[in-house]
């Protein structure tokens, strides 16, 4: 990895350089919260944002995506619609970069590569930025507090400068052309270490650090805890809507008025949705909210590991903020914590 130092004051010209060739998407303030959105000026960007309502997943897997257009009379595909645009995701936190890495490993699985996802991925540059954990952040417990691969540039804030990790030649060239790029000094390195220390200390200590999570998920599979969670789940899917790593979708056809032509679309779906596991004939393999919530937590904290060797949950904490009834991996970690400490459980 190559590292360079730039001044904070150089970031606007970096963004401007990206804008010459790409759509720039960045965190912007919306009401009390923040969202990823296309920007046209550096001043719109809130680079020190805590987190966004929903993740940048939407730029790889849009909530609704047209796969192709068809002619219903001819029963033929008329157009593979291509809505991919060259884009820079500017200001992505480490958890989300790890989330995107998880999506990559799903959608680039050589057995079923997904050309639509791949097209978005190929057209997207990612510029990461260091962060300060919020109360619901627990990426450090999910091995996602650092972005190792997965970015083109990563801006580590060190006072009035950034220590920039460089991940791609394309981005390096733009960085060089737009900024006054320097070699890191000893002082920069010390400032970087101080920043990582401060960040480590900033995680919410109330979120328990639990070992052997995947095994615990199996061990307590039948625990009444899941009924407790299911009993208060609203079946709303807000958790999946905001999650960087929920990637399930449904495919459906939409006819245009007149029914002569139409589009095949994929739309987000989620295992918390009541009909998600309903099959032809009407049987529902996960007919209760308890079974659905447990399934979601399993995939996040256990199931994905078996095939991809890392936890699907990256600890971004968004579902903890979005769920109105306090269902999230944090609740599961707290449950495991109580289990050991309290014989009465």
């Amino acid at each position: 990895m190559l590292y360079r130092v730039i001044d904070r004051a150089d970031v606007p010209s970096l963004v401007a350089a990206f804008m010459e060739r790409y759509e720039v998407v960045a965190p912007v303030r919306r009401g009390e919260k923040y969202v990823f959105e296309a920007v046209s000026d550096f001043d719109e960007i809130a680079l020190d944002y805590p987190t966004t309502i929903a993740s940048p997943k939407k730029y790889f897997l849009p909530a609704t995506e047209t796969l192709f257009a068809f002619d219903a009379r001819e029963n033929a595909v008329t157009d593979y619609v291509d809505e991919v645009r060259p884009r820079v995701l500017f200001g992505v936190h480490a958890c989300d970069i790890n989330g995107i890495m998880n999506l990559n490993s799903v959608f680039n699985d050589p057995r079923y590569p997904d050309p639509y996802y791949r097209a978005h991925e190929d057209a997207t540059l990612i510029v990461g930025v260091s962060c300060t954990p919020t109360d619901t952040c627990f990426c450090h417990l999910m091995d996602s507090e650092e972005a190792r691969p997965g970015y083109d540039l990563f801006l580590n804030a060190i006072g009035d400068r950034y220590l920039v990790s460089i991940g791609s030649v394309t981005a390096a060239n733009i960085l060089e052309s737009a900024c006054d790029v320097r070699e890191a000094t000893d002082a920069d390195r010390a400032a970087f270490r101080a920043a990582t220390r401060a960040r480590q200390r900033a995680f919410n200590p109330a979120i328990p650090d639990v070992q052997e999570i995947p095994m615990l998920m199996d061990a307590f599979h039948e625990d009444a805890f899941w009924d407790e969670l299911g009993g208060r789940c609203l079946s709303c899917n807000a958790c999946a809507s905001v999650c960087p790593t929920c990637y399930c979708f449904d495919i459906r056809d939409t006819l245009d008025p007149g029914a002569e032509t139409g589009r095949r679309e994929r739309v987000w779906d989620a295992c918390t949705s009541p009909q998600f596991a309903m099959v032809a004939g009407g049987h529902n393999f996960r007919a209760t909210p308890a079974a659905r919530v447990r399934h979601r937590m399993y995939h996040k904290l256990n199931g994905f590991l078996a095939t991809h060797d890392r936890s699907l949950c990256v600890g971004c904490g968004r579902c903890a903020a979005a769920c109105k009834v306090d269902i999230s991996p944090i609740a599961v970690l707290e449950f495991f914590e109580r289990k050991g400490a309290d014989d009465g459980e």
Partner: protein, 262 residues
Amino acid sequence: MSEIERVTDEPCAPRVVFIGLASCFGCQINITNIEKHLLQVLGQIELGYWQLTSSEPMPDAFDVAVIEGAVTTEEAAETVRRARERAGCVIAIGACAATGGIPGMAAPDITGCAAAVYGDAVPEACGVLRAPAPVSALVDVDFTVSCCPVDPFEFVRVLDAALYGSNRLAPTSVLCGQCAQGEGGCLYKRGQMCLGLVTRSGCGAKCPTLGRACNGCAGLSPDANVGAARAFAASRGHDPARFDEALRMFNTVALVAAGEGE
């Protein structure tokens, strides 16, 4: 999903009738709001009967019955039963037909409501009143287009599903997930009480997106967790009695059926 069973193999356009029961006709009017697409849609069907466009009486034979409005009289109940016997497919449109809607608010006490309006001389033109009910309380309904009023394009999609089949399933998850996709922030954070917690998704969270609380016009989801929703609203300072009162605007019939009416 059910497709129309044709009595003859001869290619002819499916015959569709529109029936209006106790309603404001807003859903029917809204269908005409697809404007430039209206002729395309009408081109697919043979419009057998539509009070809005003609005063010809309803024919005896048709394939699809589109029903707007709640059943509030014995006469309407008979109309619905007859439509079911004749039509291969029944589509209920709008909150009135789907949940009882606004007329459904009178379900717990239709006699009292009639008396409050007419005194002790209910005019004959009212017909023989009965507790307002959604169409599905009387007959099997093949497709439902929710909301007050219906989204006209959703109506067209459902009509197409009835005519040609469809791989779409009406969701039973509640609204907050769609609302979260819009990233507008939850109205509870701004002190408003919103019924998206229990309302069937599908409208795309239209009202919260515009900054207004959901009234529940798409109907209570069969998978709604009303108890947990009430508790959440209460935790944000909204009296459960107010929550229930708001819910009664479009969902009285369902609440009465669940023993939570009054």
